[in-house]
C-alpha cells in the first residue's frame, strides 16, 4: 500500500510539472466544450424552441386582430413586432423589410376581418337560435367578403419553415374564430335569460382539449431534450478523457528511454505495484477531468447564455460511469505506452486512434445520424459505450441498471488492454 501511495505522489509530481500534459487534459476539453456548445447551440434547437421575430400589420383594429395578437404574444415561439419607431407597421413597410432579409415572416390582418368573422358568427348563431327556438337574433348581412389573413415570407426561407409557421398561425386564427363564435352563442343565451354560470361554461369550451407534448421520462417533473449542452459536454469530456493516452504513453516511454523504468524493475516486488499505482493515479485524474467538465456544463455555460447541464434524476450513477470511462481510457494509454517503443510511434497512434474512435462512436455526430453500417461499427468503440452510458443518465434519467452493461463493457475493455500491457512489459524485459 505504501508503494502505491508513493507512486501516486510521484505521478502527481511528474504530471504537475508536465504543463503541456495538464493543458491537454483540462484546457483542451474545456475549450472544446465551450466552443462546440456555443457553435451547435442554434442547430440543436428546432423551430419550436427558437423565438422568431414576426412582423404583424393590423389593418383591422378589431377584436379578431386583438385576439391573434395577444395569442401570438403569449406564445413562446414568436416575438411580435407590430410597430416601427413608435408608429404602427404598414403593409408596404412589412414587404420591404422581408425583401431586405432582416425578418423572415410577417402577417397582415386585413381591414374588416373582424367584421367579417363577427358577421359569419352571427349568421350561424342566428341559425342555431332559430332552430332551437331561443328567441333572440343578432344583426347580420347576407353578403360575405373574403378577408384572408395574409402571410409573407422572406424569399429565401425554406419550405419546412413556411409550413411549420403557417400551421402555427392557422391554429391561432382558427382558435380566435371559434372563440368569437362561442361568444356570440353565449350572448344569445344571455338574451334568452340564462344564468351566468352557463355563460362561464361556454367560455371554458376550449380549456383542457387539444394536444400537449409529454416527455418520456421515468418520473414526472423533469424534462430534458437533447440540446447543444447535453450533447457537447459529455462528448468532449469523454474525448478529453481518452486523450490521457498522450501523457500516459509519453511518460512511460520517456521512463524507458531515460532508464528510470529499469530502476523500478531492479527493485524487488515493485513493478506490479508501480503499474497499479500508475493506473490508479491516472484513473482518478481522468475521473476528476470528467467532473471538471461537468462543472463547466453546470456553472460556466449558463454564464454564456446556454442552458445548464442537466445530470438526470440519478446523478450519482455518473460516479461509477465516469470511473469506468476513466479506467478504459487509462488502460488504453497504458497499452499504447507498453506496445510502442518510441514516442514518435505512440503519439500519432494515440491521437489519431482517439479521433477515429470518437468519430466512430458518435461524439462528433450523434450515432442516430450515422449510416446503418457505421452504427454497427460504433459498437466496438469504447467512446461510444462511454457516451451512451452518460446519455442514459442525463437524457433518459436512467438508473444504475440501465448502464450496468456499459460499465461492464468499459471495465472489461480496460482489463484486457491492461493484461496485454503487463504481459508485453514483462516479455520485453525477459525476452530480448
Amino acid at each position: 500500500m505504501k508503494k502505491i501511495t508513493a507512486t501516486l505522489i510521484k505521478e502527481w509530481i511528474l504530471l504537475r510539472r508536465d504543463v503541456a500534459g495538464l493543458l491537454l487534459l483540462f484546457l483542451m476539453p474545456a475549450i472544446l466544450i465551450i466552443v462546440m456548445a456555443m457553435v451547435q447551440d442554434a442547430p440543436f434547437r428546432d423551430y419550436q424552441e427558437i423565438r422568431f421575430d414576426l412582423l404583424l400589420v393590423d389593418e383591422d383594429g378589431g377584436s379578431l386582430a386583438r385576439e391573434i395578437k395577444s395569442g401570438l404574444k403569449a406564445s413562446k415561439n414568436f416575438h411580435v413586432i407590430d410597430s416601427l419607431e413608435g408608429s404602427a407597421l404598414s403593409s408596404g413597410q412589412l414587404q420591404k423589410l422581408l425583401r431586405e432579409g432582416d425578418y423572415h415572416v410577417g402577417i397582415v390582418i386585413p381591414n374588416g376581418a373582424t367584421a367579417e368573422v363577427v358577421n359569419s358568427a352571427n349568421i350561424i348563431a342566428n341559425n342555431i337560435s332559430r332552430k332551437l327556438g331561443l328567441g333572440g337574433t343578432m344583426p347580420s348581412r347576407s353578403t360575405r367578403d373574403n378577408r384572408y389573413v395574409r402571410m409573407y415570407f422572406d424569399p429565401v426561407s425554406k419550405p419546412t419553415f413556411r409550413t411549420s409557421i403557417s400551421f402555427a398561425l392557422d391554429r391561432f386564427v382558427t382558435y380566435s374564430c371559434s372563440n368569437l363564435l362561442v361568444q356570440r352563442i353565449s350572448q344569445l343565451s344571455k338574451l334568452a335569460g340564462d344564468s351566468a354560470e352557463m355563460n362561464d361554461d361556454f367560455r371554458k369550451v376550449f380549456a383542457g382539449i387539444g394536444i400537449k407534448e409529454e416527455v418520456l421520462n421515468d418520473t414526472q417533473g423533469d424534462k430534458t431534450y437533447i440540446n447543444s449542452v447535453q450533447h457537447n459536454v459529455p462528448s468532449w469530456a469523454i474525448f478529453g478523457m481518452f486523450f490521457i493516452v498522450i501523457p500516459i504513453a509519453g511518460h512511460m516511454i520517456r521512463e524507458r528511454e531515460d532508464g528510470s523504468a529499469v530502476r523500478i524493475e531492479l527493485i524487488p516486488h515493485a513493478l506490479r505495484l508501480v503499474a497499479l499505482g500508475r493506473i490508479l493515479f491516472y484513473t482518478l485524474m481522468c475521473t476528476l477531468q470528467f467532473w471538471v467538465m461537468a462543472g463547466i456544463g453546470l456553472w460556466i455555460l449558463p454564464l454564456l447564455g446556454l442552458p445548464a447541464l442537466y445530470l438526470g434524476l440519478h446523478a450519482w450513477v455518473l460516479l461509477p460511469v465516469s470511473f469506468a470511462i476513466a479506467f478504459a481510457a487509462t488502460s488504453f494509454g497504458y497499452f499504447t505506452g507498453a506496445v510502442f517503443r518510441t514516442t514518435n510511434q505512440a503519439m500519432p497512434f494515440g491521437a489519431i486512434s482517439i479521433v477515429i474512435l470518437s468519430a466512430m462512436g458518435g461524439l462528433w455526430v450523434p450515432v442516430e445520424l450515422l449510416p446503418p453500417v457505421m452504427q454497427r461499427v460504433a459498437m466496438i468503440s469504447p467512446l461510444h459505450w462511454s457516451l451512451e452510458a452518460v446519455h442514459h443518465v442525463i437524457l433518459r434519467n436512467g438508473g444504475i441498471g440501465s448502464v450496468a452493461g456499459h460499465i461492464l463493457f468499459l471495465m472489461a475493455f480496460g482489463t484486457i488492454l491492461w493484461g496485454i500491457s503487463i504481459y508485453k512489459n514483462v516479455s520485453r524485459a525477459r525476452g530480448i
Binding site: K2, K3, T5, A6, T7, I9, K10, I13, L14, R17, D18, E255, D258, G259, S260, V262, R263, I264, E265, L266, I267, P268, H269, A270, L273, V274, A429, R430, G431, I432
Partner: protein
C-alpha cells in the same frame, strides 16, 4: 575467502543476433573486494550485469549471488545487490531528493531512514546543495553521482556499477573512487566495469578481462602485469589488456 558472485558457463544469444553476446562466461568475485570487469566495447559486460540482476535471461549457465541462484531467486538477489546502470536511471523531472524518496519507498524503507541516508550520501558525493534541483538540470558528472546514490539507499552488500565514471571529469572521478574505496572498507563487495584501465589498476584488487563473451584472464593487476611481461613488453594494465584483446576496433 568465499565469493560474492559465482558465474559459470553463461551463454546468451540475443534474438536476431548472429553471434552470442556471452559464450560460456565464467567468473568469480570475492566478498569484500573490488573486482573490475574489463573488456572492449561489445565484450558482453553489460549483458553479464543484466543477467545478474535479472533484466535479461540467460540461455544457459548459472549465476550465484551470496549463494542465491539469480535464475530462481531473483527477488532475493535484487534485495542484496545495488545496481548502478550504465544509463542514468532517474526521473529527470524530479529533484534528487524526490527521486530518492520514491525509490526508497519502493524498497520499503521508512521515510526518516531514507532522509537520513540520502543526506549522508548526498554530502559524501558532493551533491548536498543540489538535493532540491531537478535531476534533468544536473551536469553529466552530477547525474552519475546521483545515479550511484539511488542504488545504495537499501544498503546492499554487493554493488555493481556499469561504467560509473563514463564521461565524468577528473574531480568527479576521484570523488567516486574515494567513495567506492570507503564503501569497500565498510565490508561491501564491489563489481564494476570501466574503460579506464589506469583507474581499474589503481582501484581493483582483482580484474577479469573478457572478450567476445568469454573469460580471457583474471587476477590482481600486479600479477597480470608480471605474467604478461614474460611474453611481451608490459608496464601497465593497458598493455596486458591490449596483449590479450588485440588492437582491432570492436563493435
Amino acid at each position: 575467502m568465499s565469493s560474492a558472485i559465482e558465474i559459470s558457463g553463461l551463454y546468451k544469444k540475443y534474438k536476431g543476433a548472429w553471434s552470442a553476446a556471452l559464450d560460456g562466461l565464467s567468473l568469480t568475485a570475492e566478498k569484500g573486494r573490488i573486482t573490475g570487469l574489463l573488456g572492449p566495447n561489445g565484450a558482453g559486460k553489460t549483458t553479464c550485469i543484466n543477467i545478474i540482476c535479472g533484466l535479461v535471461r540467460a540461455d544457459r549457465g548459472s549465476v550465484q549471488i551470496f549463494g542465491h541462484d539469480a535464475g530462481t531467486q531473483i527477488q532475493t538477489v535484487r534485495s542484496l545487490i545495488g545496481v548502478v546502470p550504465q544509463q542514468i536511471a532517474l526521473f529527470e523531472n524530479m529533484t534528487a531528493l524526490e527521486n530518492f524518496r520514491y525509490i526508497g519507498s519502493l524498497y520499503g524503507i521508512a521515510q526518516v531512514t531514507i532522509k537520513e541516508r540520502s543526506k549522508n550520501l548526498l554530502e559524501r558525493l558532493g551533491l548536498a546543495q543540489h538535493a532540491d534541483k531537478r535531476v534533468g538540470r544536473y551536469s553529466g558528472g552530477m547525474k552519475r553521482r546521483a545515479n550511484i546514490i539511488a542504488s545504495l539507499l537499501h544498503q546492499p552488500d554487493l554493488i555493481i556499477l556499469d561504467e560509473p565514471t563514463a564521461g565524468v571529469d577528473v574531480q568527479s572521478r576521484a570523488m567516486i573512487h574515494e567513495f567506492l574505496k570507503e564503501y569497500q572498507q565498510a565490508g561491501k563487495t564491489i563489481l564494476y566495469t570501466s574503460h579506464h584501465l589506469d583507474e581499474a589498476e589503481e582501484l581493483c584488487e582483482n580484474v577479469v578481462i573478457i572478450d567476445e563473451g568469454r573469460h580471457i584472464i583474471s587476477g590482481s593487476p600486479k600479477d597480470l602485469i608480471i605474467q604478461t611481461r614474460k611474453q611481451t613488453d608490459c608496464r601497465k594494465l593497458e598493455d596486458v589488456f591490449l596483449h590479450y584483446t588485440g588492437h582491432s576496433v570492436r563493435d
